[in-house]
Amino acid sequence: MSAADQIKHNAVYRQQKIVEILKLLHNGGSFEKAKAIFDETFDQVDVAEITSAERELIASGLNPMEIQHLCNVHAAVFKGKITDEQTTTPDQEQPGHPVQVLKLENLIIGSLLQDELLPCLKKWQQSGSDDVYLQRMRKALQDLTTIDRHYTRKENLIFPLMDKYGITAPPKVMWGVDDQIRDLIKQANKLVAQEPLPDKYVIETAIEAANKEIKEMIFKEEEIMVPMVNEVFTVADWGLIAAESDPIGYTLIAPPLPWRPTAAQLAAATPQVDSKIANELNEMAQALADQQTPGRLKIDPQVKNYKVKEFKEQLGTPAPSSASTTDTQAATAEPDPAVVRPDVATPAGSSAKEAMADYQPTQLLLNAQGQAQIAFNNGQLDLGELTGIFKVLPVDLTFVDANDQVAWFSDDGDRVFPRTKAVVGRAVINCHPPKSADRVLKILSDFHQGLRDHADFWIDFRGRRVYIRYFAVHDEQGQYAGCLEVTQDITKIQQLTGQKRLEDEPTPTVKDPAGADSEAGGDD
């Protein structure tokens, strides 16, 4: 084999290896193993050669995003080499680990500010009327709005777990500042888009305010939040965060590699609660919980009696006559209906009353195959059907239980507001930006007390018109069971005009199935 052949062979061999590494990582393979292959293949080559191999790969049609992953590996490997005592890459520096992703985004955000936005601002101020710098500032500020994803991941994935471990104050404060930063960026974007352009000084002030807060937040995240959560988070917690990150999205970086804890790590993972700080935090959380219990939102017993009575009347079963004392109590205690009587749908007419008379309370049945069936008043559903129905309902549901903690949410894969598993069990009050906390509490307290049974909102969110409704949910005994949030993207619904009736459906033609298929496929 000639020397030239050998080089060529090596180049091909290396490319194969790179593809192998990428495949391994994409299938969730271990980073250490990928690193080993990388080391083995590239030990003898220098950085320039790797770079040229990467360039070749791009030329041969490999997605540049894939290359970026490789660069991450490359960087991690290189790092391992210069600090010699480090033979393994720490978890949190591995590509795709939520901490690595958070820091990578911060690096890019910092660079966007430091190397683009601020220099352009300075040059634009000096240049009189140079439009190029203004355009670049507009672009940079536009890019900066995607910081929303970085913050949303933090607020929806990291904060709920911090809450769980009793670290409640820092997330609240941070969320408030996150919102402030979102506003500052929005403000700056508005200013640079204004016609005529406001005074340069006004724009400078707005951009510098945003810059200062963003930089401070980067510091808080990396120097305070990460060390703090490292005292309490388990490797499984990080795994959950990583797994739930993609749907929310990333700020100015490609979706990272799918990092996940190894089986060995999970098995060895003793929660780090033996650490002193974690213990202290847990004690604090406990103390807070103890404090809160007596002050919890209480259901007014009078309203409850009233509601139970009303509900039983609806069901056609008279309130228990055996307990005549209860009846008199309820009668004397009955609050003024004009004030308290919630706007509950009452069945209209006697036929509805009759229907309520054979109302069958929901129960669980086992069918002949031993599968659970949920028997509602109007029919039965099995678990598969129920799951399927929740998946296709054209609304996003989130249920908050009677203790005001998130119990469940529906997931059709395209929610208007991202929800992640980390949110389950979280106090609902912590799921909202602090600035709206008071109003959320008021609605919930009204629901608990039976003062109202729904609250509706409609907002414009990321180019969509969103209808958000909250309903008080009661169980069959009339007890408050929780609050259901129903969110719906009504953009298209609002645009509907005229009608589309069944007659407007194309008439089915008797064709071979393949033909029918292609027609259906071309429908959209």
Partner: protein
């Protein structure tokens, strides 16, 4: 009266438990996160004077001068 020595690298939670009279000095110079007791008990275990100064872009020399003027010794190491 003995002058108290302040370490720039002690968690502010520990620092303020021991030397609460530093707090007004910190607030005056702009390190005002310590006014929220819940924040102090959590984030304060990870925040130090040095980190706080860096975060708020307060020159270290300025912080040290402020502490000296308030009658504290500063251990820099």
């Amino acid at each position: 009266m003995t002058t108290k020595t302040i370490s720039l690298d002690r968690p502010v939670f520990d620092l303020l438990s021991e030397v609460p009279e530093v707090q007004p000095v910190m607030i005056a110079i702009g390190l005002d996160g310590v006014t929220n007791p819940l924040l102090l008990q959590t984030a304060g275990r990870f925040m130090t004077l040095r980190k706080g100064a860096k975060m708020k872009e307060i020159p270290l020399a300025q912080l040290i001068t402020a502490l000296h003027n308030a009658g504290f010794e500063v251990a820099e190491a």
